[in-house]
Amino acid sequence: MDRGRLALSLIALAAALALPFVAGPFWTGLATQMYIFGLLALSVDLLLGHAGLFSLTHASFFAVSAYTVAILQVRYAVPTTLAAPAGILAGTLLAAVFGISVRTRGVYFILITIALGYVVWGVAHRWSSFTGGDNGVTNVPFPAIGGVGITSHTQYYYLVLAVILLCALGYRVLIRSPFGLGLRGIKASETRMQSLGYRTSAHLYAAFVLSGALASLAGVLYVYYNRFVNPVASSFPISVEAALMAIVGGSGTIIGPFLGAGVVLGLRNWVSSFFEMHHAIMGAVFIATVLWAPDGLVGIAARLRARFSRPKEPGP
């Protein structure tokens, strides 16, 4: 990492650590959501930005994990130390099943993931006796490990921050590993990868399950923040928004999905305060991004940097 980026990372980290002190609970809450949904977007982007698969079912893993935690904690009084891992496990197992969708490519992959996502939403919505139907599961407590528990949103903010930092570091190793390079190879030319000895479906399946595990972790963070979960968490718009966040921020990067989450959540909060049809604005943002900034915010930053650091060309 060069010095400029290191300095920038340290400034960002310091700002993140100081945020609850300088900004009120509203901004702290928004930042917490940004981290959580940024993590979800990052999980989507492992497939989208690296392997070239556009999944629209990631809300499923997110929601199944959140429901698992909520039901275990609320109905069975299972402690966080068991409920949280159980949530991740449940979401990951679902990803291991939904991973069969990597047998398809392109538009068929998108369609099959949409269909699978609707199955989960349907179950959450209709199986009222188990999921609580439209009301979902409420009164989820703050997480507690042993006797030590989170008691405020500020404390929870720091917990989430710590978790996403660890995830970002792990993710960084993953995408730089031979496995991560293999995913980029598959995105560029699957036929060539096969002729180089890769069983590409196995690689994509592994990436799908890993990605689902990360989405499940985001689901755990979400349910403890939100303190309830209902079918909205599993809905198609959540999957779309996660992909949108990754693309708006900068697909294929680590910081991008988090920046994108900040933009999408911030805009929605702001626009919805005075405009009822805020979803239309989100659509416009998406279209503008795809047309004029396909590499997202990170791409814009890189372009600006290239413009200003370009050496002066000698005159004619």
Partner: protein, 248 residues
């Protein structure tokens, strides 16, 4: 008698109603350099695809060192020792040349599954990748993304990728296609310099290159083998002159 590296038995590939390959049988002994020639549409590339597993043949069988691989997927055949290049350059444009080579090197061993260690930490892979690039004259380009290097250099990389899967049998599909005469010479020299224990099966349109490199030549026409022999025999054959050179 030497072992057969490749044994193709009555292989056919039918697209719709068209038999692109129509019952080809072919035996290539280990260590031989075999060149396939034939006019456009003779079924050379389709035959290649069927042998290396890119396409499934409609009928027939493929054996690699006596082992039936007809039903093995492509990646499995690569692991067993087949390497190939593509007629239409098939490399990874967004990745650097070094990354391209890394993919080829770890593709045939278990390191392709490593998730917890950065590629950069594998010093031996890096060394091998640089050596591989050096061998095709691309050492100076290692850090550049493929999309920034010339077409000729991509063809060289194409060859380097195939060589670094540690093939026992190497299939080259028109390695010189679209190259300038000097690049052509460079690549054919490179191919001529390959170790003799690698069995070579090559499609080539350039008759000078083809007949200069080949131990034996197989001539395909309309999906069938019409002649097999030494370069001299092929040169002298009237039927080949008829279908291939277009005059009697």
């Amino acid at each position: 008698m030497t072992q057969l590296a490749i044994e193709v038995g009555a292989l056919a590939k039918v697209f719709g109603g068209l038999a692109a390959v129509d019952g080809v049988s072919l035996s290539v002994p280990a260590g031989e350099r075999r060149v396939l020639i034939g006019p456009n549409g003779a079924g050379k590339t389709t035959l290649f695809h069927c042998i290396t597993g890119t396409l499934k043949p409609t009928r027939g069988s493929v054996r690699l060192f006596g082992r039936d691989v007809t039903r093995d997927p492509e990646h499995r055949r690569t692991a067993l020792g087949m390497g190939r290049t593509f007629q239409i350059t098939n490399v990874f444009p967004d990745l650097t040349l070094l990354e391209n080579m890394t993919l080829a090197i770890v593709g045939t061993d278990r390191r392709k599954w490593v998730m917890h260690r950065a590629v950069a930490a594998f010093a031996d892979v890096r060394r091998q990748a640089l050596e591989g690039l050096e061998a095709v004259g691309l050492a100076g380009r290692a850090a550049q993304p493929v999309k920034l290097v010339s077409y000729g250099e991509r063809r060289q990389l194409e060859l380097a990728l195939a060589l670094n899967t540690r093939p026992k049998v190497l299939f080259l599909d028109e390695p010189c296609a679209g190259l300038s005469p000097s690049e052509r010479q460079r690549i054919s020299k490179m191919i001529a310099g390959l170790p003799r224990d690698i069995t070579l099966v090559m499609i080539e349109h350039d008759m000078d290159v083809a007949l200069g490199l080949a131990d034996r030549v197989t001539v395909l026409h309309q999906g069938r083998v019409i002649l097999e022999g030494t370069p001299d025999e092929v040169r002298a054959n009237a039927e080949v002159r008829e279908v291939y050179f277009g005059h009697g």
